[in-house]
């Protein structure tokens, strides 16, 4: 029976090439966009190099200060003072990495301008992040305390600045009109990871801006590493308790801040997140609705095409009914055909996605980023295809099965 359905399904697809193209295009294109988008999102949000400890890390990427009476607020990264004074001193965490957001600086190599993104860090940064050192090692606490002008550079910066040389540890690199002695070279990080990405990492103590000022707002972020995953709620609670006692900057009367997982920490200060709890339920809900609507488009298209095909196949329906097919059997046949069509579309979509991801990876569109298909997303996309295949088949099949044999045979 299934073999017969399969033969018919393939024959129908071949017979109406334009309809088939439209149907397959709708399904495969939607799936491709979904897979590529999720590959991108997955790359941004999952624990990739060097932030492999994300599952036992909490991030503080912004603070929100409000003046309730004047309806004013200020949201932005914290100051080094704030993080060093209130976060590094928390008792539950294992370590607290403090680093500035990267800042672009210009330098010149053989009269050619080179933009180098610079990041100031503390020593724990190198313990919390799992950088691969190709050469040398990170700067030490001693070097930071001595305000030594030492730097860790990335593999890409090494080749851009020094060219093709085997070893650069001990050599000097100029950035922001300062000569830094290279103490280590690490594997490059994609720009989509703002906490760990930079071209050049230097001690916070060499910063030209005043990192000692006592304002709460600044340009620094903190990554709190827990000893184990189970400590995360305790750290959150401890931080919340500490934060509740901190006096906001002058002009504000309320400070809101939360230590949250990676993605939540960025969204908590936006309308998609909740700065009080750090939860991103709204985002998940909106994304789910978006994905559902997005996948519904090819389904509606398929329903439309299927209905228009019913009369075209009325003779076949009439004959099948005459020779013993019940309405339910015909519904089953039509749904199987539809599932075959949607799965063909899914296969094309997966192949297209693989090609597009390969092209993106090879083109170095986003430096150091390697996109790959998320198998969970792939699995759920295939399930969605199956469900939409069923949905887009049921209504046309029901209409088809209701056709009277005599009417169906006459309609030829």
């Amino acid at each position: 029976m299934l073999k017969n359905y399969f033969k018919i399904a393939i024959a129908v697809l071949k017979r109406r090439k334009f309809f088939t193209f439209i149907s397959l295009f709708g399904i495969s294109f939607t799936l491709t966009i979904l897979i590529v988008l999720t590959a991108f999102v997955d790359n941004v949000t999952s624990a990739n190099y060097p932030e492999t400890n994300r599952d036992r890390s909490l991030y503080i990427t912004s603070l929100q200060q409000k003046n309730v009476k004047q309806f004013s607020q200020r949201t932005g990264p914290a100051s080094f003072y704030y993080l060093n004074h209130y976060v590094s001193t928390l008792k539950t965490p294992d370590k607290v990495a403090i680093a500035s957001f990267f800042m672009p600086t210009n330098t010149y190599v053989n009269n050619k301008k080179l933009v180098i993104n610079l990041k100031y860090t503390n020593d724990a940064f190198w313990d919390v992040m799992e950088y691969d050192f190709i050469e040398g090692k990170p700067y030490s606490l001693q070097q930071i305390n001595n305000s030594e002008k030492v730097a860790v550079i990335t593999e890409n910066t090494k080749s851009d600045y020094f060219g093709d040389v085997p070893n650069v540890v001990g050599k000097y690199i100029e950035a922001d009109n300062v000569q830094y002695r290279v103490c280590g070279v690490v594997k490059s990080v994609p720009v989509i990871m703002p906490i760990s990405y930079a071209d050049l990492y230097v001690p916070y103590t060499v910063s030209k801006t005043d990192y000692k000022h006592h304002d709460l707002m600044g340009n620094y972020t903190a990554v709190i590493l827990a000893k184990s995953k189970s400590d995360l709620p305790k750290i959150k609670a401890e931080y919340a308790s500490v934060a509740s006692k901190i006096k906001p900057d002058a002009g504000f009367d309320k400070l809101t801040t939360t230590a949250a997982p990676y993605l939540a920490s960025f969204l908590s200060s936006t309308p998609l997140g909740d700065p009080e709890t750090g939860k991103v339920g709204k985002l998940v809900f909106i994304v789910s609705i978006f994905v559902l609507l997005f996948m519904l488009l090819p389904t509606l298209n398929l329903i439309n095409i299927n209905i228009s095909r019913i009369m075209e196949r009325s003779s076949e329906i009439g004959v099948r009914k005459a020779f013993g097919a019940s309405g339910i059997t015909l519904v089953g046949q039509f749904i199987v055909e539809n599932i075959i069509l949607t799965f063909l579309g899914a296969v094309i979509g997966i192949v297209l996605s693989l090609i597009i991801l390969q092209v993106i990876n090879n083109s170095n569109l986003i430096a150091n980023m390697h996109l790959s298909i998320n198998l969970t997303v792939l699995f759920f996309s295939l399930i969605a295809c199956l469900v939409f295949g069923l949905l887009s088949g049921v209504y046309p099949a029901w209409r088809m099965s209701k056709l009277q044999v005599v009417t169906a045979l006459k309609a030829q």
Binding site: N4, F323, G324, S326, Q412
Partner: protein, 221 residues
């Protein structure tokens, strides 16, 4: 084998009511070859469709093989047709997307049978109609006569006791028509299949056991 009692068929639209069959009572004996004749629009095909349980009468009762059919639901009717009745249509109604063998296997798909069994029975049916060399062809690659032979093979593959043929020679030239008629006569004579055939051709009708004439939905002979 087939018993029609006071069959009426009325087609209704918003404004018009058309009486297609008017109080038809007819018995077809087991092994009989009956032909139905009459001018176009007199209700021949409607009568055949009602006999074949493809259409429901507005009034009256149908018994097939002593079994009443009025209470059967869609699924039961489908099963009943599948086991008891084979259909032959004037315009063949083959599925052009399927090969000859797959077309002939069609009625067996709705029974519990394996692919091997279906293939064997379909090949045998095609041998009976002299088309064993065309199993892998598509209907579009066949002549009218060959198509109708495939349609006959499809009608007999499930070994039904009744064959209902609606102008089976209507689209064929006389030579082809005679060939088809010979096959039907053979099925009736050798296999004992009960056949009811609608035709416009007096010569064909004369070869059958009995002739029924309809005029304006009523039986006149």
């Amino acid at each position: 084998m087939i018993s029609l009692q006071n069959i009426e068929k009325v087609y209704r639209t918003d404004t018009v009511e058309t009486l297609a069959l008017n109080s038809i009572s007819l018995d077809v004996a087991k092994g009989e070859f009956l032909s139905v004749m009459g001018p176009s629009g007199c209700g021949k095909s409607t009568l055949l469709n009602i006999m074949g349980l493809l259409d429901a009468p507005s009034k009256g009762a149908i018994k097939i093989d002593t079994q009443s059919t009025g209470h059967l639901n869609d699924k039961q009717l489908a099963q009943f047709r599948n086991k008891k009745i084979g259909f032959i249509f004037q315009s063949y109604h083959l599925i052009n997307d399927l090969k000859v063998l797959d077309n002939v296997e069609l009625p067996l798909l709705y029974r519990s049978s394996t692919g091997k069994e279906r293939s064997k029975l379909a090949t045998e049916a095609l041998e009976k109609v002299g088309l064993s060399n065309r199993v892998k062809h598509f209907p579009t690659q066949l002549s009218g006569g060959q198509k109708q032979r495939v349609a006959i093979a499809r009608a007999i593959v499930g070994r039904p006791e009744i064959i209902l043929a609606d102008e089976p020679t209507g689209n064929l030239d006389s030579a082809m028509g005679n060939e088809i008629m010979e096959i039907l006569l053979h099925l009736n004579r050798v296999d004992g299949t009960t056949i009811v055939m609608v035709t416009h051709d007096e010569n064909m009708a004369r070869k059958t056991h009995r002739l029924v004439r309809l005029f304006d939905g009523s039986q006149v002979q």
